[in-house]
Symmetry: C2
Subunit: 382 residues, 2 copies
């Protein structure tokens, strides 16, 4: 006899009967975000390659492809496997990697999908080229340039040209373009300031493209951009491909910045949680803490009762491992114990690491569960 926890939810359940904490996805809002980004990319004539590190789900990747995406990005090689297994034909690993374990994954993936990867150092190019040649596969390579984040990426045109020469010397590698991603500006709160920063990053990328032109090397792809900057990146004339991820879900961090342009996003991702204790006036304790909500970018900035008739307004004030502490603004003290058992929808502060805590999305429309989507790349950080 197997002894395992029952499923958190079944199709047809209402949210009021889903086990908590669960990661829930409002499909009406999700669909709207999915369609809006696809239409946006089409309107601007740029390729859309959404970042799968945000959702880690091949079910979602398939829907992005159906809506017009050219493929997906992954941030790690192991993360790419479930997407390759699900038939996603084009995967870009938007990150550097090093070591025999990583080379083995790269060449295996490249025998199943059109794989592109980032590099920023010559030894990496040589090792990759030799591994690909031994395996009889071809890998597209996009040197990463530092577009201002000062994280990975080459910091001079000379260094880029050295990589390009290194790639040219490897028969199993093909220069596909460059990557220019600046994560640090995605969350600049002021829309105009964000626009200025995005223009600065695009100018840096353009300088590298010109250096390649001057060498007679055509840079077919300039890939980068995130949810916070896509509208500027698409208009820059520099980027040919966009990598947004969080637009599907939104989160507290992105929800808190200015959106003055043509793009608006809806919150679709919520942790469903239950108040499990309320023994002190003005405080309630819910069952979603650090293991149910990533707090690196802040606590949930709001807490909505699933039962809209409940009036007590709550603020999520601190997280322990499995407890979320909530402070009440307007609850009459004598009513407080009655909150026990009531359910809350909590928008996470940061969607990506929150998704990485769960094994599935409980998808709903209205208050009815319509689908369960596995988070099949959860934990694949290698």
């Amino acid at each position: 006899m197997t002894l395992a926890p029952p499923p958190a939810a079944r199709v047809g359940d209402t949210l009021a009967s889903v086990a908590t904490p669960s990661l829930t996805l409002d499909l009406d809002a999700f669909d709207a975000n999915l369609a809006a980004m696809s239409a946006f990319a089409a309107r601007h004539g740029v390729a859309l390659r959404p970042h799968a590190k945000a959702h880690k789900s091949s079910e979602i990747a398939k829907r992005q492809i159906e809506a017009g995406a050219v493929g997906v990005c992954c941030q790690k090689l192991s993360e790419a496997y479930p997407f390759a297994a699900a038939g996603i034909a084009s995967i870009h690993v938007s990150n550097e990697f090093v070591g025999a374990d990583k080379l083995a994954m790269a060449v295996e993936l490249a025998s199943h999908v059109r794989l592109s990867v980032c590099v920023d150092a010559l030894p990496q190019v040589r090792a990759l080229g030799e591994a690909a040649a031994r395996a009889g596969v071809t890998i597209d390579v996009l040197p990463e340039i530092d577009a201002g984040q000062h994280r990975c990426g080459v910091t001079s045109e000379d260094a880029l040209l050295a990589l390009v020469d290194g790639i040219a010397a490897q028969n199993a590698l093909r220069l596909a373009g460059i990557q220019a991603y600046h994560g640090g500006i995605q969350h600049v709160a002021d829309w105009s300031a964000r626009k200025t920063e995005a223009q600065r990053a695009a100018d840096i990328a353009a300088r590298y493209v010109r250096a390649l032109d001057a060498r007679g090397v055509r840079c077919a792809i300039v890939t980068g951009g995130g949810t916070g900057t896509v509208e500027f990146d698409a208009a820059s004339g520099v980027f040919t491909e966009l990598q947004p991820g969080s637009y599907l879900f939104m989160d507290g961090d992105y929800g808190g910045i200015g959106w003055s342009g043509e793009l608006r996003w809806r919150h679709s991702l919520f942790v469903l949680s239950t108040v499990m204790s309320a023994t002190r006036p003005g405080m309630a304790v819910c069952d979603a803490g650090l293991k149910g909500l990533a707090v690196d970018s802040g606590l949930p900035r709001s807490a909505h009762w699933l039962d809209a008739s409940i009036e007590a307004a709550l603020t999520y004030v601190s997280a322990n491992d499995e407890h979320g502490m909530l402070q009440a603004q307007h609850a009459p003290d004598d009513d407080f114990a009655r909150l026990v058992g009531q359910r809350l929808l909590l928008p996470p502060g940061h969607c990506d690491p929150t998704v990485n805590l769960y094994d599935e999305y409980v998808c709903y429309r209205g208050e009815r569960v319509t689908d369960i989507w596995p988070i099949d790349a959860r934990g694949l950080s290698r």
Copy 2:
């Protein structure tokens, strides 16, 4: 043909060939911590019921039982399943819960193990008693008292006595004692101040025990305590059972507090990470970020090279989703690119939520992998 990432490590590998990031466990240090806590509890004549929320692994729980533990604690009902399935015979769910999904798990678990749970509200007692009676199982109940943390737990002797009466009215429930846990004082840095705070919590617990005595109710178990306070709790004369979890691993948070008494712990848990990029003087980027290290209690406070001959001292200064930014103190600039591919051992700031990111422990002695232990309760937060 299946397409899945290769295993991170195999028994017999050296740490130099384990895929990164991986969660690694130094078994010599682990064994020392395991033995020290068991000996400590035996010496003081208190029962040891380690908290399995810290390790989420039935392999580790079995070793704790073999070393003398009377059972384990879990923080959630779903978390208890892998331990019940692995044959752990006595499980205490050290937390409140509410709702039909939770009651169903409680009665199922109680049909396999000796289950005890916490309560702090009368409706919860009634619902649990009725569910247990319907299922024909008996559940031990330990009302939680607020020992000063102001999280869950009753806040008056009258409220405790009302719960005791409520439990007595349920044939399927049995009052086993009380729980008095104060998580907030576990990390008080100053040893003497921590001792004073622990005494205060024990005094509160003693007051509740006396209230039960006065009612003629014998309180067989007073359970509580964590790694930071066990030595005071054991000496208090109040606690009969201790619930420490982090002592097996230690972490940045616990490593940073004072240990002036009879207990010392070794760091046994490290995230093994690889430097994957270093294009700017004085900076390196490793492959363990927010998805490889919980940062709620701070970044890794140290970073040790796996290869002890490397002299560059690094500080982990910030975490992105899949990138860790490291600043170098003493590396000559021209040597910096040579750090790419080198491996680091990073002690997490907070062990519990870091463990919850991984599916397995890569266990080693010296530099040799000797075992792979599944983290079979990972993600079980319901």
